[in-house]
């Protein structure tokens, strides 16, 4: 790992620790008491997991553009698309898990099919299916197929968002207000922003790490293909996709 990456990692850990301190010392919420503090982890994860899909879509578009023009850059774009999809799934899984824990404690149920939760579950489903496609598709076509699917998924997210909102506003039953999203006390804002920044840095770090690993895997596969490393007998790399 290069020095600057180590520095970034250290800084991220410091920020996460500070974010934790801010979250734990923020004023107690009026109705939910200390229970609401999961909010400081839930909110950054959910918001950030709507950012990574667009990095994924951008990288996929770049891949399709560079595919027949610049192979090296195309491979980089593909690695970045894979990394950002995995980080999307990671962040939205944590978002779902914290949301469900909080829902169980605050509402008494683990899950309600309200607009935001449904949209969010679909986001998670879309990117899990993207990762599955990468796993199942034939070697050599994975990148193209995945790139096309990423574009479809990115188009689908806003359509989903709007249609599910209309669906749930038409049937007014079973909607639990806006959660804590309908405005928070100004005294909690610093804790939210610090945690947001810290988790964004963490996301960027994981993304970069995964990108570097995928680039190494690509180089190793190329070396095998060119015969520099002998036969492909090694068992590890076929599965490492």
């Amino acid at each position: 790992m290069p020095k600057w990456a180590l520095g970034w990692f250290g800084l991220t850990l410091l920020m996460l620790a500070f974010g934790f301190y801010e979250a734990m010392t923020a004023p107690t919420e009026a109705t939910m008491g200390n229970l609401y503090r999961v909010f400081f982890y839930h909110l950054p994860h959910t918001i950030l997991s709507f950012v990574f899909p667009y990095l994924n879509c951008g990288a996929s578009l770049l891949y399709l553009y560079w595919r027949n023009r610049n192979v090296e850059r195309a491979a980089g774009a593909d690695a970045f698309a894979l990394a950002s999809a995995e980080v999307t799934v990671l962040f939205s899984s944590i978002g779902l898990a914290t949301g469900m824990l909080w829902g169980r404690a605050a509402w008494g149920i683990w899950w309600a099919w309200d607009a935001r939760m449904t949209t969010y579950l679909l986001l998670w489903l879309l990117y899990v299916s993207y990762l599955l496609v990468r796993r199942y598709s034939a070697t050599g076509q994975t990148a193209v197929i995945a790139a096309v699917l990423a574009i479809f998924a990115a188009i689908d997210v806003p359509i989903c968002f709007m249609s599910i909102r209309w669906w749930r506003t038409q049937h007014p039953a079973a909607v639990f207000g806006g959660g804590a999203d309908s405005g928070i006390d100004p005294s909690m804002v610093p804790a939210v922003l610090w945690n947001m920044l810290a988790w964004a840095m963490w996301g960027a770090f994981v993304l970069g790490l995964r990108f570097a690993i995928e680039r190494r895997r690509q180089r190793k596969a190329n070396a095998y293909a060119l015969g520099f490393l002998g036969d492909e007998g090694g068992s590890g790399f076929q599965e490492a996709r």
Partner: protein, 226 residues
């Protein structure tokens, strides 16, 4: 030949193949019928007319979706025999014409299944729609096209993958959720007469326009993916 003639040639070829074998339509029809029967056993629709009106739209589309998926995999498997797909890739005809022809053919097959299935469904489920029934003539074709256009595309996408039969639903279902939601809501509104389907028809139109464009633009990439 211009673009429309290419599309028409592909469409004619697919229709002729289907006419001679009748594989997709027979399979789809019987499969959809079985789903309808199984769901009827699960819910006992004849005893609860109000509940039946509320859930029938969803049941009909679920049956059609599953039936369509069995046929969609087959529709490209035909092209792999004797390396026909490679011939398509070498051909000077635009790749998207192949896609549009195939999607239109699949659309006609699923529509044929709907034409047979809708009366059976009405009889079996003892349905008395309370809304304006003629609106189904807009909703059914739109919904069918929304399913078939993405289905044909993703079937081509998963064509050369390992276990392609599993891959198609894994990709198609999450992408189709907004369309499914819109067509189910629109159909339910016609059956129950409780609200207007206009909003959901608009959502369907938007979905169809957006994804048809995306499919036509990206099909060349998929066909030449190597």
């Amino acid at each position: 030949m211009n673009y429309a003639q290419h599309v028409l040639t592909h469409l004619r070829k697919d229709l002729r193949l289907e006419w001679r074998t009748k594989d997709s339509i027979n399979g789809m029809l019987f499969f959809a019928l079985l789903v309808v029967v199984v769901l009827a056993i699960a819910f006992d629709p004849a005893s609860y007319p109000t509940m039946t009106r509320q859930i029938s739209g969803g049941l009909l589309w679920v049956a059609l979706l599953f039936a369509a998926m069995t046929a969609l995999n087959q529709s490209w498997a035909r092209e792999t025999n004797n390396h026909v797909l490679d011939a398509h890739r070498l051909s000077a005809a635009p790749a998207s014409a192949l896609f549009v022809g195939k999607a239109l053919a699949n659309f006609l097959f699923v529509t044929a299944v709907e034409v047979v299935l809708a009366p059976i469904f009405t009889v079996f489920y003892n349905l008395h729609p309370l809304g304006e029934t003629w609106k189904l003539l807009i909703i059914l074709p739109l919904g069918t096209w929304a399913l078939v256009v993405n289905g044909t595309f993703f079937a081509a996408l998963s064509l050369r993958s390992r276990n392609r039969e599993t891959l198609l639903p894994l990709v198609l279902l999450p992408i189709s959720i907004p369309a499914l939601l819109a067509m189910i809501q629109a159909t339910t509104s016609v059956l129950t007469g409780e609200f207007e389907p206009t909003l959901w028809i608009k959502v369907l139109v938007a979905y169809v326009v957006v994804f048809t464009t995306a499919c036509v633009l990206l099909f060349q990439t998929i066909l030449a993916a190597d």
